[in-house]
Symmetry: C2
Subunit: 506 residues, 2 copies
């Protein structure tokens, strides 16, 4: 259960490993003269830090809700009032005060949170992140650590920098969170797409493990001139854009391949905690009371991270507070072996500097004071989960019950986690110009007034994925209410139906 | 007064210019079919943004002070109570509430500030930054803009990326904010130090304009093999570490050289707004009422930025909210010609993403609701300025009135802005091993219990600056109170005196 030596230095970029950092304010370190004794209570004339007495802010009160959409008129709820659904004995306080000075070691006070702080993140929030990972996805080895980032985008950028030198290869699901490709490119890396199966009739959905295995075992023939991959970048839970989740057995196979072929697994998991039950036809109103017990959720619903399989310290997991707390925080964290975290820390020290202290103090204090720590935070996630499941059901019901579906014009991938679903457009057999047809259909959606993401927009390599680009990513995250979701779904299926009925013409 | 074409593209890095960005969620842009009409009220199934109803935060109250250190017991004030010093008719409200939804266009509400937002910064805060610069340092041309950064460190990183390709040269004051050297190095740039004069007896303090002019005019002989410089990096006001401010006449000469030799001026100005009066012996207690009128401050105290001389759009100015509001915000901005801002925006889009919305909403709402906009913010700065001036006086008085000063062991550069002063160690004539002596003296300071920054720690090139490294940067920013500043100053001079009396031995 311990990795004492990080044995993957050859998989880290030369650029990242070469960085070193020492601050100009550091005192002398060598050549202490005889008789030298440090002063027991030194005073600082060196750090250019304004005293917290200069801050215009004395304290901050954060006023909170107990449930998502609690204060919104637009949330349909059961007849029972929200108040009555708050479990007995739980915090009912709605407001959290953050004072200039606080004594509780778990709390980030104003004088600390608004000051210059550690590039790795404030110690209190780092500790929360460690505790949270221990509870949810405990790594299978001991010498791991976390570093706070300024959100998943920053986490991805730092991870790409950690691994990729020019000409280095990284495997990526063929449809992916495409901004990561910019991070790969910025470091001179080469992205090689991995086939996904999006047709339920031809095998398990998602990552095609046979394709991956064959690619790795015949690399030099299949990818002549390319170095063997240093890493795989995967969004294993509620994959973006497809919504598919890799089962544990599949993860084990991928992990074994990573060990055998010696590469790192970059696991991007922005919303995997939103593990969703199977679609069921929504029965009118959201039932807020129906959330799981924490242990049941952790044991039977949350798909375990690659970290839980990681006996060799080769998984780099990227998390974010964007989807579970708020995107504007620009706050997330990376979990990895200590050596990798240390190398990432140098990038932070030299390039990005510290994450926002304002965001850190708000998140940490809300989690500690309002939610009461890790388990309270998971309870909040479970409330988010119920709300997302309901929204998913409302949106997908418009598809499953549409004429377009019944006539076989489209199919839906019911997501098992996250906030995205895929709608497959089932072009008639023999359609040869699906790409041109899809481009036309894109305009149809604009005419019908529904914003969608064509699968092709998120392809690593449009040519490689041409045959599998006949789908759209849709999301139930931004809508204001059920009515809006319903209307948006109707517009989508209406556009598809008209397009098909006109013979795949506008 | 207008620059219509940015004529400095050859001074920008190829790397920065090559970046392009388009989001995968963007709708179709070309090939609209005949008869296409966009829907008047589109609904979104494309953006992966959680509805603000998912945020646990309903509102935030920020509780403020009217004066720095107002709530601190450790601030000495006049006999008059602070309350009586609040100017008539000014806001006396101490608390600012930020609601989930607000109608005022200047306000960033929770639903906006905690959401994904523009990589260039939220429009409201960008507009404030523009208005603030118009009031304080209006550029001499019209097509400039601003971009919000995650603090000055991020501003410096983005500026280095903007300009430097491998082998590109940048001129830097020989003692400088040395972390910028890491940004230069990360882009393969070459830093060439510029001589500073730190000896009041041999000419004006600070940047040696004759050295600069000679260097530029004889570049190929003096720096054989090096490209001509693309930029100068300067901290013109309250220079770090020396505390010296470039007079306007000097700035004009530097600017003329920039035009003649075609380079960009990177102006780093983290605390120049803290324009300080000349040192005067502190008369006991801080007089909080003694702050300037805004117009007097702007006309006669604040040294104008290089922007005010800039008729050719070649100044890039880096600001931060760290020193005037709080460092933990990780918030600042860059002012430059629109094309340069646009290029920097691509870096933000692809690498750093958006600044913290939490920080932006707090700063913007405090400035608008509490301070009432630009002029109210300047009034806050004037209160900061008085407090810093007092602290400077308290600290420097310990030097000017010391035996070490009277015996000629040290001299002080009284800073005309900012939070740093320099103490020159006046080694006896004929001291040949000043470097070794300084290293020994460093240990003396640790033994006496006072943290200082040796000038050498902030040198671009230790060898180039060896003769001028006999100084220490001290700051009056972090101390808790006058007593602490006094004690720290006494420890400093005590260490120097003992060191000299022992014959420059420990």
């Amino acid at each position: 259960m311990t990795v004492t030596v990080f044995e993957h230095d050859h998989l880290l970029s030369e650029r990242a490993k070469a960085r070193s950092f020492s601050h100009f304010s550091q005192g002398p370190t060598d050549g202490a003269p005889e008789g030298f004794k440090p002063h027991p209570k030194p005073l600082a004339l060196h750090w250019g830090m304004p005293n917290p007495g200069f801050f215009p802010i004395d304290s901050i009160d954060v006023n909170l809700v107990d449930y998502p959409f609690q204060k919104s008129l637009s949330l349909p709820t059961t007849n029972a009032s929200v108040e009555s659904l708050i479990p007995q004995g739980k915090s009912t306080g709605r407001s959290v005060t953050i004072a200039k000075k606080e004594d509780d070691a778990d709390i980030i006070d104003i004088s600390r949170g608004l000051q210059y702080s550690e590039v790795e993140g404030l110690p209190q929030l780092r500790q929360f992140a460690r505790d949270f990972i221990k509870r949810t996805h405990a790594p299978a080895y001991s010498d791991w650590d976390v570093i706070i980032t300024t959100g998943a985008g920053d986490g991805l950028n730092k991870s790409a920098d950690l691994i990729l030198d020019p000409e280095d290869v990284i495997l990526i699901e063929e449809f992916t969170f495409s901004p990561f490709l910019s991070n790969v490119k910025a470091n001179g890396g080469i992205a090689v797409p991995l086939k996904l199966n999006l047709d339920a009739e031809s095998g398990p959905l998602g990552l095609d493990i046979d394709y991956l295995q064959n690619l790795l075992e015949n690399w030099s023939e299949l990818k002549p001139g390319l170095k063997k991959p240093k890493a795989i970048y995967t969004i294993p839970t509620g994959q973006n854009p497809t919504g598919v989740t890799q089962p544990v057995e599949l993860r084990r196979k991928v992990y074994d391949l990573a060990v055998k072929h010696d590469f790192i697994i970059l696991e991007d998991d922005p919303y995997g905690y939103l593990a969703l039950p199977k679609y069921s036809k929504p029965e009118g109103l959201l039932r807020l009371g129906q959330f799981l017990e924490i242990d049941e959720y952790l044991e039977s619903h949350l798909t375990p991270s690659y970290l839980t399989l990681d006996t060799t310290g080769r998984v780099v997991r990227i998390e974010t507070f964007s989807k579970l707390f708020a995107p504007g925080l620009r706050l997330g964290f990376i979990v990895a072996q200590k050596r990798a975290i240390d190398v990432i820390g140098k990038y932070a020290a030299l390039v990005t500097r510290s994450p926002s202290g304002t965001s850190q103090l708000i998140v940490q204090n809300v989690i500690q004071k309002k939610f009461g720590g890790v388990d309270g935070w998971i309870e909040w996630i479970l409330k988010m989960r119920v709300t997302y499941a309901h929204r998913r059901d409302v949106l997908l019901s418009q598809f499953y019950e549409s004429d377009a579906y019944k006539k076989g014009y489209l199919d839906v991938i019911d997501p098992s986690a996250g906030m995205f679903a895929s709608v497959i457009i089932k072009f008639p057999e023999g359609t040869t110009d699906a790409d041109a047809k899809t481009k036309l259909l894109n305009w149809k959606f604009v005419a019908f007034g529904v914003g969608v993401v064509p699968g092709a927009n998120m392809a690593v390599d449009k040519d490689f994925s041409a045959e599998r680009s006949n789908f759209y990513r849709i999301t139930f995250a931004p809508a204001n209410d059920d009515e809006e979701l319903t209307e948006a779904g109707q517009r989508f299926v209406g556009a598809v139906e008209e397009f098909f009925e006109k013979g795949l013409k506008f």
